[in-house]
Symmetry: C2
Subunit: 401 residues, 2 copies
């Protein structure tokens, strides 16, 4: 296996692999198929000769494949530096880490911003996708790379949905799974919040029924409102109080106007405005819709335990006490179903006031628990311990020209 | 006192009183003044000879003065039929009930949709208002009606903020107060949610920098999104699960599109679309801003207890267990401050999964507790018992021509 980041870099600086062609289309849950699919991805570390050290990192709604290195397109730093890297819980000295941009995304993978075979941009004609379709594309990518088995699948939020889906869909190929701050089914409240965001985007006249790229417009204002609405759900009320409370922004007294008087307003406006520079509005529509559609039990006779029955994957489920977007209760439902199915499962509930976004932030207890689980499963898989892997990586490093 | 609904009806069928003129302007918290202010209102029941049976009902963000009778403009039924009416907890056989449309509102009171003296519609040039300004206008209305004392002020949400403000601002004139599902200060999370709504409205090109009335346009799509975002916060997650969960709307299977697949989507879209027919977008901006600005302690040296010190008003504070818009904790903060100030206060926490909107819905325990409190304060005020009042009302009714 000689695949590296460099050798696969495509013209625009993002590395991609073609995983579907007219001869070998990607079949989708909605009955349609895509004749041409590229998946953009990044890797870190080195594939072991036994190909037994593969970690797949699944990103959340607005993430991308740049979990552990700077995004060269946006210039933004790695989105999961606390978790993935040399000496981090997902140790790139030890593991061959792959992160893909999801199908439907906007960082190089085929999605609504891609061109159809006829040269036009897909826009809202892009077929609707599901979390299972995203995972199907990731499995196809690994097949293309000659990788059969995944040592660990890890991800938070919709990344956690993908992790659950991986274990079920690539049955027998996933040794361990860490679904974080996620749910086995999207709640009515979350469908509601994402529907608000979609309506905000589709209400923007610059959305042009989804054809804004072809019409050289951008529904930035609608997308910013969508991001603002969603962002509130990623943060707990106590954290908003701690960080902002009613403090004023750059002023001594109330302004009696509609400018951002309060820091919380200024913060949310910034979240909205900076988001539109790095994300595609149609991707936001399609990925949120895939989240809404996620209901793992529904595909297994309405019983979540049925989805998991017979799996020998080791699970470690994480939730955060103040997460009200994907609540600890929803994680416990996953754990109960795994227990009912007789699966190997641990559950870690982290006490924090940081809300849903805690999985992206510096949470020492969270990182320590992930490290502990990974060390245990690595031992169960007979992988070399972290120190040895690090020494080997150093040795290799020195031997390079 | 012979003021009745009929005699004050103005040309467009709404009854109003002028409470400010160029000689007697209404001074606002932001330092500006309004030279012409009309307040639209409704009354039910009959003012007692001693003028000691006045109840003021304060409406919430999207409410109006039609607490106990059909709104003749929208055709919508009374918004508080469980609470106000003959034989109801606020018994119109017993009390003279007044409900005003708030200053800045859009049901007949002066607000951004009103015309300035120069004939142009105010729009976004309307001065910013506060909850204290709203109450100042209500006090002026009662002064105009020759009423000095309020037996009871009652209201939920921003109506509850007005109730708290009434006790402080009309010091010594309010015998009892029932603030429901409210807070003494708007939280950062709530400022955030209303900021999302304002941004949605102001992002709508039909908002026209607030001058849409003059330009014969309506920012309906933005206002609908604002309403959808806010509405989610009025309902608890368990209630959304109970009422909608993931049930599909008029279909057997997922539609793989952006139509309303789920009942929750259809419900929220309906909430948004029906709202724009009855509410003015600029009023939404101004009233939500007044809510953001509400911080009763800030006006009293940062100590909420200071606001209440020396009041002999009897308080009964209500909260609902599943209300996450104005949480029980925020009600308890009010109760603690009232206790610290040595005030007469009861606190009732209602167990329900109906969330913030519970105060508008049929909640027998809530209604019973309100009735109990009102009976007790009526006795303390030496008002005739409910039965006697009813008999008197019946007697009067029979004697009318």
């Amino acid at each position: 296996m000689t695949t590296t980041a460099r050798s696969l870099a495509s013209v625009d600086g993002l590395q991609r692999l073609t995983i579907a062609t007219p001869d070998r289309p990607l079949r989708l849950d909605n009955g349609r198929a895509l004749d041409h699919v590229e998946i953009a991805y990044e890797t870190w570390g080195k594939l072991s000769p036994a190909k037994d050290n593969v970690v797949i990192v699944c990103h959340a709604l607005t993430g991308d494949q740049f979990a552990a290195s700077e995004n060269p397109v946006t210039g933004r730093p790695a989105w999961w530096p606390t978790m993935v890297g040399p000496g981090k819980p997902v140790d790139t000295n030890r593991f061959f880490v792959i992160s893909t941009n999801v199908l439907g995304g906007c960082m190089g993978s085929t999605g609504p911003a891609s061109r159809r075979p006829d040269g036009h941009v897909w826009g809202a004609d892009f077929p609707h996708i599901t979390v299972a379709d995203m995972v199907r594309a990731q499995i196809a990518l690994l097949d293309e790379m000659g990788i059969d088995d995944v040592f660990l699948a890890i991800g938070g939020s919709i990344g956690g949905m993908q992790v659950l889906q991986w274990t079920v869909q690539a049955r027998g190929r996933v040794f361990a799974a860490i679904p974080i701050a996620t749910a086995a089914r999207q709640s009515a409240q979350n469908i509601g919040f994402y529907e608000v965001g979609r309506q905000a985007i589709m209400a923007d006249p610059n959305w042009c029924d989804g054809a804004y790229v072809e019409q050289d417009k951008r529904p930035d204002r609608g997308l910013a409102v969508a991001r603002m609405a969603a962002h509130i759900t990623y943060v707990s009320e106590p954290a908003l109080k701690r960080k902002f409370d009613r403090r004023l922004q750059d002023r001594e007294a109330l302004g009696f106007g509609f400018d951002a008087d309060f820091q919380i307003e200024s913060y949310l406006r910034h979240q909205g405005q900076s988001f539109v520079d790095r994300f595609d509005a149609n991707s936001y529509l399609y990925i949120t819709r895939a989240m809404d559609y996620f209901d793992l039990a529904a595909d297994h006779g309405g019983q979540l335990a049925n989805a998991f029955r017979g799996l020998d994957t080791r699970f470690c489920v994480f939730s955060f006490s103040s997460d009200w977007h994907y609540t600890p209760e929803e994680s416990r439902n996953i754990v109960q179903a795994l227990n009912a199915a007789g699966c190997d499962v641990s559950y870690v509930s982290i006490e924090t006031d940081k809300g849903h976004d805690a999985f992206l932030l510096d949470e020492p207890e969270f990182e320590a628990a992930i490290t502990g689980f990974i060390d245990a499963i690595a031992e169960a898989r007979d992988l070399p311990p972290a120190d040895e892997a690090k020494a080997m990586a150093r040795g290799k490093g020195k031997a390079r020209p």
